[in-house]
């Protein structure tokens, strides 16, 4: 059931344009190989900017995240 559900979710937002390129990334490939399309540090910068943006957009109160209007 879990596998079926995951297959469905993945299929929903799969981008057909990247399937052929990424199909070369077989099992056993190291994560660093998978991430080689990024300039070093690029993902870290994106993640950091996500954290900053999230804190600017949402405010936490008692476990609930409220969109700042």
């Amino acid at each position: 059931m879990q596998a079926k559900r995951m297959a469905k979710i993945v299929q929903l937002d799969a981008d057909p344009s990247v399937v052929s390129a990424s199909a070369e990334l077989g099992e056993g490939k190291d994560i660093n190989e998978i991430m080689t399309k990024r300039v070093p540090g690029e993902l870290s910068a994106l993640v950091t900017s996500s954290q900053i943006a999230f804190n600017n957009i949402f405010e936490e109160r008692g476990g609930t995240f409220t969109l700042r209007m």
């Binding site: 990424s22 994560i31 998978i34 996500s50 936490e60 995240f65 969109l67």
Partner: protein, 197 residues
């Protein structure tokens, strides 16, 4: 089949809330505001909804890792689709619902919700609540996709790494590890966890 009240389309689309959503120029906020309003309308019709998939990741990463459509798991698909129709969405052959006015695409998925309901996070948009799948479930979903489905492993790994780092509230590591074992992605979880150290 339950029918929403006649005239609901006119009322929804002429409501102050809908007009404000339509005028929202920021794509991320427009989607979030619509989702919160839509799920509130579902709630008033006794339908539960949980945001899952790429849009859920989009919320947790504040739009940095954006997706194309909105996946909603609902307790009553028929009512949810009727309501989308009342909001002016059109059903496409793919089964996706498109609003050309809001530039939003929605996929309605019938329950069951595959994650642990007690881990679902609550977001608040104005007076409305929006339930979003737990980051732990989304992380495992992406790792599973990267390892076994391989349609876009770079995207999946990046999203998993981002969620590990930016998820609001504390990640439940026991729940995460249990899920990883159950789905045979402990190796990918370790790789993702180590990537940003």
């Amino acid at each position: 089949m339950v029918q929403l009240a006649s005239g609901a389309r006119t009322r929804l689309k002429s409501s102050q809330e809908y007009r404000e959503i339509k005028q929202e120029t920021d794509r991320f906020r427009r989607r979030l505001r619509f989702l919160a309003f839509f799920t509130e309308m579902l709630k008033r019709n006794n339908v539960d909804a949980v945001l899952v998939g790429g849009e859920a990741i989009d919320v947790y990463t504040a739009g940095t890792f954006s997706t194309s459509d909105i996946d909603l798991v609902v307790s009553n698909k028929a009512i949810a689709e009727q309501l989308l129709n009342k909001f002016g969405f059109e059903k496409k052959a793919s089964g996706l619902w498109l609003s050309q006015e809001l530039i939003i695409v929605v996929q309605v998925i019938a329950e069951p919700y595959s994650g642990d309901a007690s881990k679902i996070r609550t977001f608040r948009v104005k007076d409305y609540e929006l339930k979003i799948a737990a980051p732990e479930d989304l992380i495992i979903n992406r790792l599973y996709s990267a390892k076994f489905w391989k349609s876009n492993p770079q995207r999946d790994m990046e999203q998993a790494i981002a969620l590990l780092r930016v998820s609001p509230g504390k990640i439940d590591n026991k729940y995460l590890n249990d899920l990883a074992k159950k789905n045979d992605v402990m190796d990918y979880l370790a790789k993702a966890g180590a990537f940003l150290l």
